[in-house]
Amino acid sequence: MSDPIKDSRIGLIRAVSSPLGFLVLAFLAVEGLLTILVVRKASNPDPLLWAMLGALLSLVVVVVALAILRPEALSGSRPLSAHYAVLFSDDLTMALEGPFANLGGVDQDEAWVTLASVLQETDGTGMDREYVKFCKAVSERLKKRADLKGRWRKAQGTIKV
């Protein structure tokens, strides 16, 4: 036979799987404590009621601020750019360095530069900020891997021997 108290605790622990869940749990705990205090100290409950209201408003402010500034913090996931950009750019390099090497010389450099530039300039209106950061991080990594610094400009314009 299942223990209802144990089951409810397991359910509670499962619910706290993200920073947002933890914030809500902490809020409920504070509100619960304050409710008990209000009941016990019924003669002058005003400060406690204000404290409950303050806790609620604080939670709303914190959640809204996080949702705007660091939405990934609410779900507890790491930013895409930090986590996967290196892996993705290394995979791209591995897949493309063979075919690009066939181009040789300035054509090869330009192919890498074009790829890196397109990613670097990903910044369309309404585009997801995390995706833009991811693309820029991939671009930086590609430039580093392909060692492009100062090599690409020699093939622009007319051929001068």
Partner: protein, 145 residues
């Protein structure tokens, strides 16, 4: 017929001085080599800061892409046909919805850019609206120059 943009940078080719109507030159052909044919249209773009970055004129290809022994990549011969009285700046081109995604705006380091027929038509229209001589598009068809 294809329409290209060829890009230079001021420290290699300053188009303000070097683009002279009637003159011919050989440009790098690092990309789209198989697409380049004589009489294709080419716009000439110079990179740099936003006050100089843009188109300075147009011309035609005079050859297919070819390789010479002492070159480090393929080249293609061009003939300059028109030099604009004022450059068509990138910052103005960007404002055109059909042109805002031009690859030259996103990957400004490359040399040869191929325009889609829609982009080519819109660019010619824009050039005309700036009171500069645009290539003849042959009515409404984007592919006949």
């Amino acid at each position: 017929m294809n329409v290209f943009i060829f890009q230079s940078v001021p420290d290699r080719n300053d188009l303000r001085r070097e683009l002279l109507a009637g003159e011919s030159d050989t440009w790098y052909a690092t990309r789209y080599r198989n697409e380049m044919k004589p009489n294709d249209l080419v716009y000439f773009w110079m990179g740099g800061d936003e006050n100089i970055r843009g188109l300075y004129g147009w011309g035609t290809l005079e050859s297919e892409a070819y390789l010479e022994k002492e070159w480090d990549s393929y080249g293609v011969d061009v003939n300059y046909k028109v030099r604009f009285t004022k450059p068509i700046l990138a910052k103005d081109i960007k404002r055109r919805p059909k042109l805002e995604n031009l690859l030259i705006l996103r990957a400004p380091q490359a040399t040869n850019f191929l325009l889609t027929p829609e982009q080519a038509a819109d660019l010619a229209q824009f050039i005309q609206s700036m009171n500069e001589q645009a290539p003849n598009l042959g009515g409404q068809n984007e592919r006949s120059y």
